[in-house]
């Protein structure tokens, strides 16, 4: 079995104050809009328990193509510093098989335009998996959806 390891950092300026952007990560109905419903067809079972030791989960379906099937996210929150930092571990599963595990840190800092958001992800991908390049693309798409909430 092949295990690919990769990390990436994405920096994005969001046109809102750090506390406001933080709320979009912390409140289920806000996060649902950009995280669970911004991409492939959600199964409608997104759940968020935003606290240290709490979890987040959701599923989406891809109807056709190389990624066709049921995809599941499972997150556990490790550290939360209000309006400043979130650390979590998450896995992605495809048709019931865990194919990646990642350790992620998100920081929120003030900037002239609003909030400087930094997402650092350290991951292991168990082939077959989407891999780090596609994963980064997926995270970027989610952050674009987040940014659009405040445009």
């Amino acid at each position: 079995m092949t295990i690919d390891h990769a990390d990436f950092t994405i920096k994005k300026i969001i046109r809102a104050q750090p506390a406001t952007v933080f709320r979009a990560f912390a409140e289920q109905e806000l996060k649902r809009k950009w995280f669970a419903e911004g991409g492939p067809k959600s199964k409608g079972d997104y759940r968020l328990d935003f606290r240290v030791g709490g979890t987040e989960s959701g599923r989406f379906e891809i109807a056709e193509g190389p990624g066709a099937g049921l995809h599941e996210n499972a997150t556990t929150y490790i550290d939360i510093v209000d309006d400043a930092r979130i650390v979590y571990a998450y896995t992605m599963a495809w048709n019931g098989r865990v194919h990646s595990a990642s350790l992620t840190t998100v920081t929120f800092a003030p900037s002239e335009a609003g909030c400087k958001l930094t997402v650092t992800e350290q991951g292991a991908y168990f082939a077959p998996s989407d891999g780090p390049v596609m994963r980064r693309g997926g995270v970027e798409a989610q952050l674009d959806a987040l940014s659009r909430l405040f445009d």
Binding site: I78, V81, R85, V87, A89, V98, S102, Q122, G123, A124
Partner: protein
């Protein structure tokens, strides 16, 4: 408030079967044997070793093992690979989170083990050196223990 990150890689060739090596890496009782350094102890307070489960252990000096480590198991593919997150606190203060994966293979000499550790330190970059030394020492303990008992 800073976060310091690093990737650590380790490799060992150990003169035992993959099944024996796997057991020592995953079984809590076995981990208690080779995990701690000289003079230290590793004691589990909760075990649920399965995909999606978690273990909790205390480690440190025998008189006062003040480090609490929570292990979140992500993937367990016996006897080839495993992946988990470890969250470490000391006397209630969060020190670090690390994601670890084990990859096991066969060699003419027995078994090959690759360990990759992604570590995030929340108390400064110095802890990253501690992870390098700690994992190296633990894997040396594991090698000695297995080669002495198999």
């Amino acid at each position: 408030m800073t976060t310091d990150n690093a990737r650590l890689d380790f490799a060992r060739v150990i003169g035992c079967s993959r099944v024996t090596l796997w057991h020592s890496l995953i079984d809590p009782t076995a981990r208690s044997t080779w995990g701690p350094s000289e003079g230290d102890v590793l004691r589990f307070t909760a075990t649920d070793t399965r995909e999606g489960g978690s273990d909790v252990h205390l480690c440190g000096p025998k008189a006062d093992p003040g480090y609490e480590v929570t292990t979140l198991w992500h993937r367990i593919e016996e006897p080839d690979a495993a992946c988990f997150t470890e969250v470490m606190h000391h006397n209630g203060k969060l020190l670090s989170a690390s994601q670890v994966d084990y990859a096991l293979g066969k060699t003419d000499a027995g078994s090959r083990l690759h360990v990759t550790v992604w570590v995030s330190s929340f108390v400064g970059a110095g802890l990253l050196d501690g992870f390098q030394a700690g994992w190296g020492s633990a894997l040396d303990n594991l090698t000695r223990h297995l080669e002495a008992t198999t």
